[in-house]
Symmetry: C2
């Protein structure tokens, strides 16, 4: 991100900042947005001049494709501020590659790399004050693309908006998280687009998650749509199981998001001399490990939460609490990753990128 800005970006600064109206000690995730946003329109076959403008509402035709056919993808990233006011991103190259991977599967034109990084860099420097110091504080960054062409015909849009909006964040989850293992509803099909961060992968989870909430859970761990025998992901998090001293997570596939935090957890765990197995995991294996006392931890990984320990789980009407554990892998790995994110530790993997 320290390379020269090569993209011509039109900048219109906000007349006044909203920052003084914000209580940074009581932030609800994703509800407050910084002063500016990045917008780049696609039309006539190419991405137009990128713009940074004051955060504002969009005007779209009611027949815009995104409203009817769900042609939309997004990313989740964070900017961190260290004690010396340095601004850092965590593996932003992965997010850039993934949004284009998602776009491709949704028939959305890919976005140019220099527009993405120059736009992000410029936006973060402009809204620098919105990134607060302090371990756990961050500016959540939401790049997204929506299909804007008017017309209710079920075909790819010829016009799009690529945008980046930013929301100051503390931590994603309050309280303990208990998960229900899905035995009927599903998130994604083989041959579908579960691997993409596509809008259409989310709304379908809300109803089954509401049912789980009524049963006392906060999230669902999805299983394969075919047999419901294999554990997949939690919809906003990839999932890890500690069985004995091994950490197990399922392989990615066309149904499962290739999580940036997931791959960082795998690398970091190995670096911390924790044995990691990436292989299919049966629900039956986890139930058996729980029964015989070898299931020690379950946790989710994702940009919003980094790592989210899971306190208990349920399956087909039964519920179990996980034991409190000392030397939790979740805690150890989370701290190690956050130390890199906040420039508090050496970054031997080259994950941390400075915004300057």
């Amino acid at each position: 991100m320290s390379k020269e800005t090569i993209t011509k970006i039109e900048i219109e600064k906000a007349a006044t900042s909203k920052i003084n109206d914000v209580d940074f000690n009581n932030l609800s995730f994703g509800s407050i947005f910084s002063d500016h946003m990045f917008v780049c329109d696609y039309k006539n076959g190419s991405w137009q001049t990128p713009k940074i403008i004051p955060y504002q509402k969009l005007m779209l035709d009611p027949s815009a494709r995104v409203f009817h056919y769900g042609q939309a993808v997004f990313e989740g990233m964070k900017a961190y501020k260290d004690d010396e006011d340095g601004i850092w991103l965590f593996r932003p190259d992965e997010n850039f590659l993934r949004i284009n991977k998602s776009s491709k599967r949704l028939a959305i034109p890919e976005f140019p790399e220099e527009y993405f990084f120059d736009g992000l860099n410029t936006l973060l420097k402009l809204d620098n004050k919105w990134i607060k110091k302090g371990f756990g504080n961050s500016l959540y960054i939401r790049p997204f693309v929506i299909a804007t062409e008017a017309g209710v015909s079920a075909s790819p849009s010829s016009e799009y908006k690529f945008m980046i909006i930013c929301s100051p964040a503390q931590s994603y989850y309050g309280g303990e998280v208990r998960v229900k293992i899905a035995d009927h509803y599903s998130r994604a099909a083989s041959g579908g687009f579960g691997f993409a961060k596509a809008a259409g992968n989310y709304a379908g989870q809300f109803y089954p998650t509401n049912i789980a909430k009524e049963e006392g859970f906060q999230q669902v761990i999805w299983t394969d749509a075919n047999t419901h025998e294999y554990l997949e992901e939690a919809g906003t998090m990839n999932v890890f199981f500690r069985i004995g001293d091994k950490l197990v997570t399922c392989p990615i596939s066309d149904r499962i998001l290739d999580g940036v935090t997931r791959k960082s957890v795998i690398t970091m765990a190995k670096d911390l001399n924790i044995e990691v197995e990436v292989r299919p995991i049966k629900v039956a294996e986890v139930l058996e490990a729980n029964k015989n006392g070898t299931l020690k931890e379950i946790f989710g990984s994702g940009t919003a939460a980094v790592i989210n320990p899971i306190a208990g789980f349920g399956y087909k009407g039964d519920k179990w609490e996980l034991p409190k554990i000392e030397n939790s892998y979740a805690k150890k790995i989370k701290e190690a990753i956050m130390d890199i994110q906040y420039n508090k530790a050496e970054d031997k993997f080259g994950w941390r990128i400075k915004v300057d």
Copy 2:
């Protein structure tokens, strides 16, 4: 629809009509909209006063749920005008029930029946001139619901817009349609929401359909995501196969849209003394029937096209043309249904509903 309007609807009429700018003999499907639109907002736990206002752009926060999490459903209906200027709808009760079924699966609050019908009735009377006489002409009606709450948190929106927009239509497809039978990509998962008319079911089809287009097809017939052995639906149409003198279509499931035209085709075929089998159909069965000459027709059914004959199909690199046929079931059933839609024949099933 002839019952008294009980809903208080706020009406703001358009100052001028756009109708004289429209060439009704050269309409591209879903691209031109009538003068007014119906809008009803959901907030604070209830649907607010419905409004009919001039067709206009929407202003939404860039963080609105629909852009990020695909919480959106829709319907497709048509209004027809008979020779005496009577306006008719075709089984609108089915569309009303289905949009609420779709909404429920997407965790969207259901819409009140009287708001739907009174809104639709009032809108059609106001934009009456946009419904042109003539067999095949219609006003395509697009009810839809979008999640409008601002905030990038993956949870159901607390605010929605229910809208109805209308677009004058001739016929949906120009030219011959050839379909590719899917052998890798999928449309829907068991336990998912393939049965819903949800935005998220459409964008995922665009990329595989683009590949099919490059291979000389216009549409894809989706197969089950698990084995790809069973024929399901075409994404915007249900599909029927005529094998010998029997018409075969697959049963509906949580992966398959319960098409209004599909069920009308089944009823009408039986009424025309055509034997109909609703049962799982293997790709292998269709290939074998094609080989031994008993595969006589394939057609799709849907609101936009009513019935769309399929001229040829492909599977795993092979392509076949279907023989030209006299006494086509597609033609016979389509005409019989359209005669009811346009008030040209007796309606013994009670499908046709007058707008007055």
